[in-house]
């Protein structure tokens, strides 16, 4: 059976969820999410260090969605809003997870997979060098993304970035990204 977005979202929402959202990823939504998560982390007295890391990871992962997400989703049966994405922030024992999901054109999978695998294989110092190289040598793309988001996330969390691609149809797959903070 092919991938089902509602089942996927329900499965994600079973843990200790601080925030769950599925719909259009807009600039306003990013503001609202940041504000809500910041408030919740303050309430549970999370340490400043952890709060900052989660905040940073949230900004980068949501802006990655914002800049790279598919505008529309032709041939996808569910009635999706434009710029559709999924975001869940949950607590799992002592750590936090930021999970994002979005439909991705199958043609882009190879590039993304290779990029994440490469980042995951690198040491802290190698990531630092890669970050500095991209910072100093690459222009910001027309979309506004700097190509630095995933590298920055890996540097700040110090953990491998987990991901899965669920095949959907000939054109799209669903990309699930799990960041542990």
């Amino acid at each position: 059976m092919s991938f089902n977005i509602n089942e996927y979202y329900q499965r994600l929402s079973q843990g200790d969820v601080l925030l769950g959202y599925k719909g259009s990823i807009t600039s306003e939504l990013i503001n609202e999410v940041l504000e809500a998560v910041e408030e919740k982390l303050e309430k549970v007295n999370e340490s400043g260090k952890t709060r900052k890391k989660i905040y940073n990871v949230l900004v980068e992962s949501m802006q990655n969605l914002y800049h790279h997400i598919e505008e529309s989703h032709e041939g996808i049966e569910e009635n999706l809003e434009p710029k559709f994405g999924v975001l869940v922030v949950e607590r799992d024992k002592e750590e936090y997870k930021v999970i994002t999901g979005n439909f991705i054109n199958n043609k882009k999978i190879k590039f993304l997979q290779e990029k994440i695998d490469k980042i995951n294989s690198m040491s802290k110092d190698e990531l630092k060098d890669m970050y500095k190289f991209i910072l100093n040598h690459q222009k910001i793309s027309a979309k506004g993304g700097g190509g630095l988001g995933l590298v920055d996330i890996a540097r700040k969390t110090g953990k491998p970035i987990r991901y899965e691609f669920f095949p959907y149809n000939d054109i799209y797959s669903f990309f699930n990204l799990i960041i542990e903070v």
């Binding site: 503001n31 504000e35 400043g48 630092k128 100093n136 506004g144 630095l148 920055d152």
Partner: protein, 126 residues
């Protein structure tokens, strides 16, 4: 030359640039989706300023958060300062970070290793 003042918002820092004193302060959060648009006025101001800078330029960078898109624009700002420094003017960048915020300290050190301007890392203790 006119001063440049931009008020801070939820996603953008305050900018306070007084060319006559050679004083620039960038303070707050820098996480806009479109950072080029936000930093353009400052980069333009510095371009003009570099033609006739103050004897000493002191830059205070006091950021709580910045996104990777801003990181490139901040580098552009620092590159302008580097060229002012290169033409034999005194330039100093003070990079503030909160106590125990190692990520912010490390970010400052990344810039320090790229830009040839004297940096001072200043820890803010509550």
């Amino acid at each position: 030359m006119e001063p440049l003042f931009i008020e801070g918002t939820q996603k953008t820092p305050s900018i306070d640039f007084d060319p006559s004193k050679g004083a620039l302060e960038i303070k707050g959060r820098s996480i806009p989706e479109n950072s080029i648009e936000f930093y353009k006025p400052l980069v333009d101001w510095l371009e003009t300023y570099s033609e006739k800078p103050a004897t000493k330029t002191v830059v205070n960078v006091h950021l709580e958060y910045f996104n990777t898109s801003s990181s490139k624009c901040i580098l552009d700002v620092f590159k302008k300062l580097e060229s002012i420094h290169k033409s034999n003017n005194d330039v100093q960048i003070n990079w503030y970070y909160e106590e125990d915020d190692e990520d912010m300290l490390e970010a400052g050190e990344d810039y320090e290793s790229i830009i040839r301007v004297p940096f001072k890392m200043i820890e803010i203790v509550d």
